[in-house]
Symmetry: D2
Subunit: 301 residues, 4 copies
């Protein structure tokens, strides 16, 4: 036999679960997209099609919805921990579980009169999608959280010059440009052991997001790499629970439009927002002495 089975995993992806908690007339909402991925002693299902070790993906879906009732959803991270622990500890052939969750945020709809605000009415906040991934092998936990689709822009305080010029270089240098990106970021927690106390996942997310935004706004930028490094540094320095950050930042180019053919001067006023191609700037920033574990491509957490 000349063929081998390598790494393999399976599960149900994109279970869209919404959990409502009623506190009298005041409702609370958690809106998640949960993907389960399991691996373990699964050679036989690949070789012969025997499903004797296979918990159906349909069952993993049912478990997501049942756990939303049994455990509630305090945070995406905590919910992922409940699920991962369940699959690894309850099924002998399953040795590792990875739970990925997207979370969509909702805000309350403001009433004309605050006294009559309907505490069950929400409008979805479109800014970013919150992310987490929980992995468990029966002993150790790895939690990587983050966000995507958070679009930010500085309309000044960005330059780009002093770069290498080769025979294919035509780009003019600039000392005042728009810097814009759609942040995709992940951060890895150093919590990995049931014996240690967990971070406050909700507070950690709020604060990390805040530092990320402020570092973007407050960095006078000579390159998107520099801005990105400041965003990661700010998080590592301010959040003890995080050891590693990975960013993937498309440079959303805003080109100054040449208005001279029309007898007009464009004094950093009118820009063309381009789609493709785009620069793509990526890096890991980590606490000194820590191991880099977030994959190079963020999609492969």
């Amino acid at each position: 036999m000349t063929v081998m089975l390598g790494q393999n995993q399976y599960g149900k992806a994109e279970n869209r679960v919404v959990r409502i908690v009623r506190d009298g007339a005041t409702h609370h909402i958690k809106d998640l997209n949960v993907s389960v991925s399991l691996s373990g002693d699964m050679d036989e299902v690949h070789h012969s099609g025997s499903n004797a070790h296979v918990l159906p993906t349909d069952t993993t879906k049912n478990t997501v919805f049942a756990f939303a009732k049994e455990h509630g959803i305090d945070s995406a991270e905590q919910f992922g921990i409940h699920l991962a622990r369940h699959f690894v500890t309850s099924q002998e052939p399953i040795h590792r579980a990875r739970i990925r969750i997207e979370e969509y945020a909702w805000e309350r709809i403001a009433a004309s009169d605050p006294d009559t605000e309907k505490k069950h009415s929400f409008v979805r906040s479109g800014q970013e999608v919150r992310l987490t991934q929980v992995s468990y092998d029966g002993e150790r936990w790895e939690v990587v959280s983050g966000l995507k689709d958070l679009t930010v822009l500085n309309s000044t305080d960005s330059e780009f010059w002093g770069y290498v010029k080769d025979k294919y270089t035509t780009l003019p240098e600039t000392h005042d440009r728009i810097l814009a990106t759609e942040v995709s970021g992940r951060w890895r927690f150093n919590w990995s052991d049931d014996a240690r106390e967990m971070p406050d996942w909700e507070e950690s997310y709020r604060e990390t997001r805040k530092h990320l935004l402020q570092a973007f706004a407050e960095t006078y930028s000579l390159s998107l790499q520099q801005t990105m490094y400041q965003m990661g540094t700010r998080i590592i320095e301010r959040r003890d629970e995080i050891d590693e950050v990975r960013f993937s930042l498309p440079n959303k180019h805003h080109f100054l439009v040449d208005l001279e053919p029309f007898g007009l001067k464009n004094d950093n006023e009118v820009y063309f927002a381009a789609d493709r191609p785009y620069g793509l700037i990526e890096a890991t920033i980590l606490r000194d002495g820590c191991e880099a574990r977030i994959p190079v491509d963020l999609t492969n957490l």
Copy 2:
């Protein structure tokens, strides 16, 4: 000859223009996606390929960017009016212009210390996309504004019962359900004449959006049609400048998950958010005595 040319139009679609205004260190941003569509005396280009009457779509693109400098962008509506007037009055063969604009909103990034807030740093507000369409035939204006992608949800105060049952009906009645939709709405202004004063386009948008949201939140709903009608009525009653509203509201189904097989009771707590199929509820609501002019499908403004 047995073939005739009917209605035809052409132009450049999706010109992505960003306009920055610098008021000292405080910057303001307008972010638009502008589509130009022109029609008029254009038989020849279809029959023989002669472009003698054709202003190139590339020129219409250039005009969008040049006008962002020459006229600025006070509002999407005002910008569309500048463009439409230009094409119809400057080109003899062009008899009608239709300018469609999408606008993306940005908020300032909050600083840790308000005194040091960077007034050139923005985060894109993902909630809804604002829309306008300006049409001009050289005499009369038609302005239809609106929004899309505004997702709202009531976690209670919605029922659905008392409907027709035929041989294909299996749906159980409910007296407490989630009601959620992604609002796509358009509203037509009664301003149509240069001799009349224009509405305040920015204030009109803010207020119309507010009424729409509040009517959604405050209507105890027996059907999505009823909620939609209240949303339109609220706008017509409160905004004198608007004569007609059209909504297209997908019923974003949130199905209560059956947890009984797992020995659990689901007391309006855990829902499955479904993608397809979805109910689709559409209507025009208009001021008594006014003509309905917004097309039945919102895409065909």
Copy 3:
């Protein structure tokens, strides 16, 4: 009362139904996305929320799946006719039904040895999505079919010159360019009466698609308008069952890349395929003496 209800409609959108027919070991597949839209005597559900005239959208979904069994799916058009007739004739308050269908094509997977080809194995053909819309008011039928997402390209035999130049015109003329578009087209059948024999819907689609492609390939083009008009003319001339055609053709720009800065000559060899903005060219072409009924925007059939 100062507010009126105008045109309104409702139904279940995007019912994804797959129908398999087994002819011994040879299977046949029809893969549709069916959207139902009903209108009629529906004031009360908007005003008071009474559902006494409302057949639930869930029931219309069930009907789609039940009819796939009861009537089979000979063609998307025929299936839409069964559905539209049912809703209008079986429900007194429903006066009009509109059924929209997308159809996805599948091809058989070729075997190494034709004798062992698995006649139940398919690969989805990604070229275009076939479309139809059937409308019925209890007396007359309107059937509009078409396609979208069919991308075509001529790498020569296209010119663009002799156009209007105004102060915003910078585009150079060209006598050899790429002409590419993603065809969105609709054609209206003159069949409207149960007393007349229906067209052969499957043959009509195959032939119309063929004429459309051949006219695109065989027209030496001085403008995309000219090519579009030839595509419509060819269909009207060759297909007696069709009275009207509407196209919406984005001009998918392929810009010749300027390689001179690198000491290279670009002899119509290397192009940049742009996304946005794009020209958008639209027209109706119809049989002499016929009424234009396909809406100006194809989305509003």
Copy 4:
């Protein structure tokens, strides 16, 4: 200092290059989407914003277009090899280049009379997107090719039973179901050394795709894992140039619709094609003794 820079890379993503070759009146087309990613001695640009080692992403874009002229595009793989070699050997600070390419296929438009076929007229084949990734560190090559978006379906010869049942299991067993998936696959070539002769990249793609499809069609399936393993095995056994295959296969569920409430029997005829959630089945299949190098998530090549 408590913060470190880890792995980082940068470049221009999604350069859309179209190359036409004219062989008399017969034209040939290559349509690629090329993403460049470079890494090396880049600490300074992150720390201080100095761009002294940075070849601008704009230059890498220019290089893609210039190389389409200078080297032509024999195959996506060969084109990626030209680019990767250039960046690593011409720029001292750049130690590693990774070129990712998507390729879109085109077919000729058939004429009514084969003698008059326009050999410059194409229709885009929508079936799959062909992929390749070329990595080079100055010494060794790694080429991973593949495809995505290839949707396949068997309407019988698929069963699913004999699986684990826990307290959350409700799925009934089935002995005849539809098996459908949208293939995302990658395969790694064992060519890694300039001293060895390269594979014929075009023939390799054609044959690998064929084996993959045939294995899908010809496997009587007890689980999607079994089918997937057969697809990988077939490739490893038949293509000596390939050492490793990785698949990510969403189980595109087609649920048999319950028609009993309507008095109808559904004898494997009418299915609901669901969107979310979906099973997701992934594995690596490799030649005995070879190292697994394709990342667990295919997006992270």
